[in-house]
Amino acid sequence: MQTNDNNNALSMLISIIVSFMIALTFFYGLDHLVMSMQGLPLNPDLSPAG
């Protein structure tokens, strides 16, 4: 029982970390996309490239 709980907690933790990674990548890409579409390119560190 204890092992199952530990496994569930671990898989939940992994899910949360992966979800955060996905969300971060998505919004990072979104910032680049939206700014570029307006003719305002960004550097990889999100500082203005123009």
Binding site: M12, I16, L24, F26, L30, V34, L40, P48
Partner: protein
Amino acid sequence: MNDKRPSNQPERPSTQIRWGRRLWIALSMLLLVYGLVQAVEESTTLNRITPIGMVQVAGEPLITKTTPDIADVDTAEPIAAPRPSRSDYPNIGVSSRAIVWILAQLHLFFAALVLAVPLFLLTIELLGVYTGDERYDNMAYEFMKISLTGFSITAIFGGSLALALFVLYPDFMGYMMHVFGVQVLVYAILFFLESFFLYTYYYGWNAFRYGNLKWVHLSLGLMLNASGLTIMVLANSWATFMMAPSGVNEVGAVVGNIWEIMKGPLWNPINLHRFIANIAFGGTVVGAYAAFKFLSTNDPDRRAHYDWMGYTSNFIAILAFLPLPFAGYWLMAEIYAYSQQMGITAMGGILAWLFIVQAVLIGTILLAGNFYLWAGMSRTDGSDRYKGLIKYIAAVLVVCFLIWVTPHTLILSASEISLLGGSYHHILGPLGIMPAKNVAVNLMLVATFLSFQLYRRSDKVATVSWAPMGNALMVPIYVVAIVNIIFLGVYYGYFTNTVYKVGSSVAQVASTLVVIIAGIILDTLMFRNAKTLPSHWGRIPDRAQYALFALPIAFTWLMGLMGYVRSSVKTHWHVYTVMKDNSPDNYIPTIAYAGNMITIVTVLFLLCVLFMFWVANLSSTRQAKPAAGGAV
């Protein structure tokens, strides 16, 4: 839309022969295709612009026109816009502007209401057909009944406004008639169409209730909305022509066709903004009706019905309200693009203070809307899971509200400047500019959507196996979006150049929209076949109903305020840069005067709405027959 409605499912109407549905689909497709074709044609600007002159290049043959255009038939000399002097304006002893202001605003309030109500009640009716629940149909009918008087009141104020304009501003109206010509008659014809569809839609409600006839009824509703929306966009073109004229030259002479005149740079932003705002406005007004009915009865069944009606109205209002600021941004961006001077007059000059008042009003709307959702959670026992989050949402709303209402430039005396240590407060000063306000607005919208999402989840338990994964994804979307909104506002707003500052506001809007869209999609998938917990309609504190009263009052005031700003940016022009206003009122009045005018109009509108509600109640009231021999 609402799966927490009272039970008692009626039988689904018979649809053995489906010609009615085919009629509905054909009409919908026709309107859709027509709209798309128009939109595509709009984008090919060169096809629409009629050349006003031709140049023959030396050595080249003379250009011969192969297709006829407007210049072939209209060979008359272009007529410049009139330049009336002060004496050309009739003086009736009362401010002409005040008269037109009141009539125009009342007309617009009612027009917004009667355009919006058929839009969302057609959706409710359609929902009733698909779910087979007749209570949707009954509710839509009740919405229609209470707004019916509004159509007459709209026409009365519209006619009065037209007469007032012709009497008080004859040269201006003569010019507008000259520019728009036959389009005005098309506008009049559309009234006939709208009236036809309105009355057949309303009076045919019970006659066309089931089977194919129901689809005929829905088709009537569709045509009612199509004619109403066309009326709206035609009238919008007059307002946007006055702000940003197109199809005329620098002296106001008509050089383009009617389509070119209508399709000015501000036309579509205004169309979108008014379309969304009207729906939100209509939702708040009928919500107030439901609140009034809820409070005026002790019958549990009626309280349950009006509680549900109030919830549906608030649902419509909040859902329409969420994208409204973005439509407003687009409009202001187009105003700036058209004329920076006009944009600065609106947001950097005397009118800028009205945007602070706007922030107070929008804050009131969001706080009231959220409060209603939180109070509504008490309908279900399952809401206890989420109630702990309410205090955090409230804190975000209040802090953002305070940031939004922080002014930038204060009118200060010398001693006050000395006490403050400068023109701007050293800590609060940075909160007065747009980057801080953009962050605040977007966070308020995200918080409102969170309230909405929690409310929708409160009576359900997800049964899909991946529900924990869904929640694990939803939380990071909220967290990262909020961090992104703050980062975009702070970094680009305060530490980069102006171009990036303005551009980052679009990315902020995109982040907010991602939260809303992702939330809707995830919840739709996660709560499919969910276990539903019992809901108790009517089990809501009475004080929640006062939030439903606050919404239309704040919304009406807001519409009056921003309508005034939109009109005032023309300053001393009837038609910006083309026809000067030489009347005695050709100046922007003081903020106090404008505030009083807007308040008067708001109070008048609310009195008319009370009359509308009273008349709607009157139709369902029947006097008891006096007893024989009783007093006469």
